[in-house]
Amino acid sequence: MFKMKHKEIGFVKNRKKFFIFSTVLMLAIIISSFVFGVDLDIRFKGGTMVDYSYAGEQGAVDLEQVSEIASDVLGSNLTVEEKFNKLTNQNGFEITLVDNDGVSSEVQGDLTDKLQEIFADQDIKQLSITSVNPTMGKEFFIKCMVAVLFGSLLMILYIGIRFRKIGGVSAGFMAVVALLHDVMVVFGTFVVFRMPLDDSFIAVVLTILGYSINSTIVIYDRIRENKRLYGSTKSLGEVVNISVNQTLARSVNTSVATILSMVVVCIVALIFGVNSILSFAFPIIMGLISGAYSSVCLASELWVTWKEKREKA
């Protein structure tokens, strides 16, 4: 596929372009998160979400009536939405209730009984329910953040030790900056496609963290080797550029292989209509692209900039 010729691509030379591109991208993501708003899943913010299916044509169940019944049982501040389920091939609706302390299973059972009684002909069935207490949702969210933060610190530490010959801690720090970039891209994908941040978001972020740090380390490893090889005969920028180019075939091929697999997952999920997998596979593809880009074009280039600034000072 990708054949390396003798021509070298000037990654280090053109690094400013990459930095500008990424900065603009980050700004765009931040702005769009304000424009579209960030939608936290009830797993994090607390609340209740119930999915029902019903038999018959779409609209066979009057949603306004459902809304009234649900308000009676659960209290106000709820929304009812039509929802077609491709997997079971059935029409249905979703009742979402926010800002509450979670609905007890008894109350929930009452609602289902009442709906089944009133729409007796429509064979109403409860498909799924998620009810989360807000404090617990918040705890879960904080815990995820702590895990990511703590993981990043340990990575910096590990890279610092393993790559101390090339000034490890700063290299580790730049690797984490590149990771942050990838997390932002995943976040942006969720925001732009109006997907609520839920546990798939956490799973995607974790996957991308692992993938991107791995790619960055492969390049750092080559820099470490080339530093030994060239010593001080070549400048840091040159060594980094050679290393990025030497590992480029690997970077591209690995990315093609992994992205290819995830595209397959995406297509199958689309055909089967499995939203839970689609909402996970698609952001992963975006993250993989970003991960490949940030390792090749950002991490070591940022590090060169940092080192050169330090030398001048």
Partner: protein, 469 residues
């Protein structure tokens, strides 16, 4: 490293493929209706409730009550017992003392399509105060009143054990379902006194909080501490009553804090889609690797198959008796990531061999150097992922697991909340990396070194070099 003999290639290939095939198909023997599992295959994988559907509930003691660790454990024990009576054996029950919670998870049974989750949750959490009271006087709301309110004969702790039985209980010899109570010493005298007083005259009512669950007549004085409640029971109602009485010994009430249920029909579709896409993706990656890297590509495919087999075996437990592990959607993400890293390890090595061949090294030298030089990159990449995996397992695993204990000094600020789904990600990633070390690095090295000595593979072209005629 010493030269590796030619047969090594075939030995490694056969062992790897045999292992992988076994981890997929498993071995079962059938004697009549009894299925005997010798090696566990893919169909033994425990799918998480986010894939297969099921129930996830968090219980907490009623507000204001700070239960001790012992009390929580006692409550969890009761729940386990109830789950088994509900015929659910595939459950997870955790207690979390720091945040005062009991977490219960269980998937639907195979083939379950119509399961009343609400009543199951209600029954689980229904660990209310159990009382035996005199008579069955009730007010308009069904609450105890009059003498029934005032005279409590027994409390939950006075009952040692209740069980549902089937058999003849009187002279007619007709078998029926009944509930047998064994009383603790603390309750024997009180019960004997009450039944002596009430025999033939009144009834004793059994209450769960303010709800009467049964009001059997007292037929005769019961002095030996073994009582029988009978009358119109079905198997189900007898077991349910026995269960409620057993659970009634709990020191406090439980409330549901969080819960979610997912319908089984949503689950199986997702599972099938996941398996299908896994197979297609694996085939495509193999084709890609072979086209790109020729011989090292073929070796990589065998190594990847071994890695997949290793992960499957770690999920099912492989041999009976070994614990199996629940696979959730984030768990599948972990598998994908580790296969990605596995593909990467093979690509790094193959690229390195190609590079050495192009720089004019001999085939043996190139293979040797390729593995040697690729190792440090693969090692560091894998170890950083091990770090991620361990943190996740510690943060989101059961509070008493080894990893959680390890991280306790760092996470003490945060209550241990078990998020099974993400724990599963950590687990699959960890075993994936281990499998990658075994197959992607060591097995692949031996295969490559051995196969490169075959006469037909002494041409640099098969390693991605230019044709050497």
């Amino acid at each position: 490293m010493k030269r590796v003999g030619k047969p090594v290639f075939w030995i490694v290939v056969v062992i790897t493929l045999l292992f992988t095939t076994l981890s997929i198909t498993g071995i079962t023997t059938q004697y009549g209706d009894v299925k005997n599992v010798i090696i566990k295959g893919v169909d033994q994988i425990r799918w998480g409730i986010d894939i297969r559907g099921g129930v996830d509930v968090t219980f907490t003691p009623e507000s204001g009550k700070d239960a001790t660790a012992d009390e929580l454990d006692a409550a969890a024990e009761v729940m386990r017992q109830r789950l088994v009576t509900l015929n659910i054996t595939d459950y997870e029950v955790y207690t979390d003392d720091a945040s005062n919670r009991i977490i219960v998870r269980f998937p639907w049974k195979e083939g379950e399509t119509d399961f009343d989750a609400e009543s199951a949750i209600a029954e689980l959490g229904d660990t209310a105060m159990l009382t035996f009271r005199e008579s069955d006087e009730r007010d308009v709301d069904g609450k105890p009143s009059g003498v029934t309110k005032e005279t409590v004969i027994l409390q939950g702790a006075d009952v040692q054990r209740a069980e549902a039985n089937y058999g003849a209980i009187d002279n007619t010899g007709k078998a029926e379902w009944y509930v047998q109570l064994k009383l603790a010493d603390s309750g024997k005298t009180a019960f004997a006194d009450a039944t002596t007083r009430l025999a033939g005259k009144d009834c004793i009512s059994i209450w769960m909080d303010d709800t009467m669950i049964s009001n059997p007549n007292v037929n005769s004085a019961i002095t030996d501490g073994v009582a029988i409640i009978s009358g119109n029971f079905t198997q189900e109602s007898a077991e349910s009553l026995a269960n409620k009485i057993n659970g009634g010994a709990l020191p406090f009430k439980l409330e549901t804090e969080n819960y979610s249920t997912i319908d089984p029909t949503l689950g199986t579709g997702a599972r099938d889609a996941m398996v299908l896409s896994g197979v297609i993706a694996f085939i495509l990656v193999c084709i890609f690797m072979i086209v790109l890297y020729r011989l090292p590509g073929i070796v990589a495919c065998v190594a990847l198959a071994g890695q997949v087999g290793g992960m499957l075996a770690a999920l099912t437990g492989f041999v009976p008796g070994m614990n199996s592990f629940t696979l959730t959607i984030p768990g599948i993400a972990g598998i994908i990531l580790s296969i990605g890293i596995g593909v990467d390890a093979n690509i790094i090595t193959a690229e390195r061999i190609k590079e050495e061949i192009r720089s004019g090294k001999s085939i043996d030298g190139a293979v040797e150097l390729g593995y040697q030089r690729a190792f440090s990159a693969i090692f560091d990449g894998n170890i950083t992922n091990v770090i991620v995996a361990i943190i996740l397992m510690g943060t989101f695993g059961p509070p008493d697991s080894a990893f959680a204990t390890l991280l306790k000094p760092l996470l003490f600020l945060f209550p241990a909340s078990t998020e099974g789904a993400i724990y599963s990600f950590g687990y699959t990633l960890l075993v994936g990396v281990v499998a990658n070390f075994v197959f992607g690095i060591f097995a692949s090295k031996y295969m490559m070194k051995s196969v490169s000595r075959f006469k037909c593979f002494r041409n640099p072209w098969v390693y991605g070099g230019s044709r050497n005629v």
